[in-house]
């Protein structure tokens, strides 16, 4: 509605003053957006189409555009155990990662929202990992989780001689080390989201509840936390989106290993498409990732857009 109105007034102005310059003025906005439009059309939507197309071919090292049906997807889901490992890892990783980030992030936000001294100082510390590359922090975690010299050695020297901590090198547990490092990195971000949410809550509701005699923990549990629902939704969506795309941390921490026990869809795709020269197969796995992300993001985006429109 608003836009239509605006374009109408634009048109009105044009008729009033008329002339060549004014019609030029109406071309400029389109001219300015043109490069972005072309780039988005080709490099986002065109490329997505290309990948979908190639996933239905038999392309090996080089692309071959002859359509051959859904063979690659069938291999992916029925004859490639490694893909199921990647999917399983994604489920383990994303559920733990999201749960840990939200619990710790929310707790820190609530505690820091109690008129704490040096609030800025704490905030700065909780958030600095977000400024660093996963490759940088992953390097540090790789060293901390090192089976002989890292945490294991530290605890042994503290007097627990039998302590072992070999998660990083055991196929069954290596995925949890990725959870540890990723949660450490992203908790601060969730904390910031919740803190912003807490600061946006109307104080009068809380005061009214206090007058009614409700205790503070009860107020948090019954009033404040439920009112943060939209923040929970944002946090889950963003973290899930991060989880599906996670690539850097896996590469630096385990390289997908031991064996392929910590493979995730993103590393799976990279391995098959780039290292093994199986373009169509890699493309098929990328398409699955794409569909998963879109299934999460598009409903979210539309509900958000509707919310902001209504707010206006």
């Amino acid at each position: 509605m608003d836009n239509e109105l605006q374009t109408q007034t634009n048109a009105g102005n044009k008729i009033k003053s008329g002339g060549f310059l004014n019609s030029l003025e109406n071309i400029f906005p389109k001219l300015v957006l043109a490069p972005t439009f072309v780039l988005a059309l080709v490099c986002i939507y065109g490329f997505i189409f290309w990948t979908i197309w190639v996933s239905f071919t038999n392309s090996g090292l080089l692309p071959d555009y002859e359509l051959k049906g859904i063979g690659q997807y069938i291999i992916l889901f029925t004859r490639e155990p490694r893909w199921w490992v990647a999917i399983r890892n994604l489920f383990i990783f994303s559920s733990l990662f999201i749960a840990i980030c939200i619990v710790i992030g929310l707790a820190l936000a609530i505690f820091l929202d109690q008129r704490i001294r040096a609030e800025g100082f704490f905030k700065a510390i909780y958030l600095y990992p977000m400024a660093l590359s996963f490759i940088v922090t992953g390097t540090s975690w790789r060293w901390i989780l090192n089976p002989s010299l890292g945490l294991e050695r530290l605890v042994q020297q503290m007097g627990f001689a039998d302590f072992t901590f070999r998660w990083l090198v055991e196929p069954e547990t290596a995925i949890y080390t990725i959870v540890i490092a990723a949660a450490w990195q992203s908790t601060g971000f969730v904390f910031a989201l919740f803190l912003a949410g807490l600061r946006g809550i109307d104080n009068s509701i809380i005061k009214a509840a206090q007058v009614d005699g409700a205790t503070l923990p009860r107020i948090y549990w019954r009033i404040i936390i439920p009112s943060l629902r939209p923040v929970f939704l944002s946090a889950v969506i963003i973290l899930l989106h991060l989880a599906i795309k996670s690539f850097d941390l896996v590469m630096v921490l385990t390289g997908g290993g031991p064996g392929y026990s910590t493979d995730m869809p993103a590393t799976f795709m990279y391995t098959f498409a780039f290292n093994r020269g199986r373009l169509a197969f890699g493309a098929a796995s990328a398409v699955i990732m794409f569909l998963a992300v879109m299934a999460i993001i598009i409903p979210y985006l539309f509900s958000e857009l509707r919310a902001t429109r209504n707010a206006k």
């Binding site: 374009t7 400029f28 490099c43 909780y126 490759i135 910031a192 795309k245 590469m251 990279y270 902001t308």
Partner: protein, 296 residues
């Protein structure tokens, strides 16, 4: 009555003190937890290898040395090359500066159009661009590497700049649009009636109030592009690798004795630029982080 109230208040305040001590303790423990990996990186990077073997994660260095830092900078092996990270560090610099500037400037005028010069279809285009922020890049990696080959910038820093500009545009346009929406339309209308055109309004009215959003976007883009690994590993050649890729190669080089101190020094070198940005302009970094996330 009065005394009873006093007693209640008294007991409450002692509970309050205990609770507050508990809260501060938790906050401080959390701070230590967040700082430990960084602390471990720093102390390990100034230890000797012998010190590392005999000490533990958090033991302070018995002998302070910057040898690992020199080696990481100058002679550590990233695969077959043993020239340290210095060349890759400058690759990153050469990649980040143009990519940030171009994507920010285009994003600014895009945001200006999306918010103040809407035309039929511009909102639809914006929505489609927005979706582009979220696609998993795996779905564009293969065709992009072919396209870079066709243009003739495959495996070069130019190729990386191009890729970062293309996939940064959606974010920068979004940031600027959301900021410019808050500028009242009346000001723009008044300027139009006065006869100011598209570029004049941008130059005289929009740009002068854009400093904060420019800072946010430049910081956001700088950290994103500097920290990128996926595009770096997929599209760079051995001479154009960004520092994150070189760091990963150092860490994953399995030949010879594993030099953890060199790994840590290299990681710190790769992390220092964005860390400085964060320390100097953390407020703006945070603003970008929450704006990019919530307003999505």
């Amino acid at each position: 009555m009065r005394s009873r109230e006093h007693v209640i208040l008294g007991s409450q305040s002692s509970i309050v003190i205990i609770v507050r001590i508990f809260i501060y303790a938790l906050l401080i423990i959390a701070a230590i937890y967040f700082l430990i990996p960084f602390f471990v990186m720093v102390i390990t990077s100034v230890k000797t290898l012998n010190d590392i073997r005999t000490g533990n994660l958090i033991s302070l260095p018995r002998e302070f040395t910057l040898k690992a830092w020199y080696k990481a900078w100058d002679s550590a092996c990233t695969g077959i090359n043993c020239e340290g990270v210095k060349g890759y560090f400058f690759n990153s610099v050469q990649m980040v500066i143009p990519a940030v500037l171009i994507s920010t400037l285009i994003g600014a005028v895009n945001g200006y159009v999306f918010s103040k010069w809407r035309f039929k279809g511009s909102e639809t285009f914006f929505t489609f661009l927005l979706i582009g922020c979220f696609i998993p890049f795996q779905v564009i990696l293969l065709p992009m590497s072919l396209m870079l080959g066709w243009i003739g910038i495959a495996q070069s820093i130019y190729g990386l700049i191009f890729v970062h500009v293309v996939y940064g545009l959606a974010f920068t346009s979004l940031f600027f649009r959301n900021y410019y929406v808050t500028i009242p339309d009346e000001i723009i209308k008044a300027a139009k009636i006065d006869g100011s055109g598209f570029f004049r309004i941008f130059w005289k009215i929009i740009l002068p109030v854009s400093a904060p959003i420019f800072v946010v976007v430049i910081i956001w883009q700088t950290t994103q592009i500097w920290n990128d690994f996926l595009f770096g590993v997929a599209f760079s050649g051995s001479q154009s690798q960004p520092v994150t890729v070189a760091l990963n190669n150092i860490v994953n080089t399995s030949t010879g004795v594993k030099e953890y101190n060199v790994d840590m020094a290299a990681a710190l070198i790769a992390g220092i630029p964005t860390l400085i940005v964060y320390i100097v302009a953390g407020k703006y970094f945070l603003r970008g982080l929450t704006a990019g996330a919530i307003k999505g």
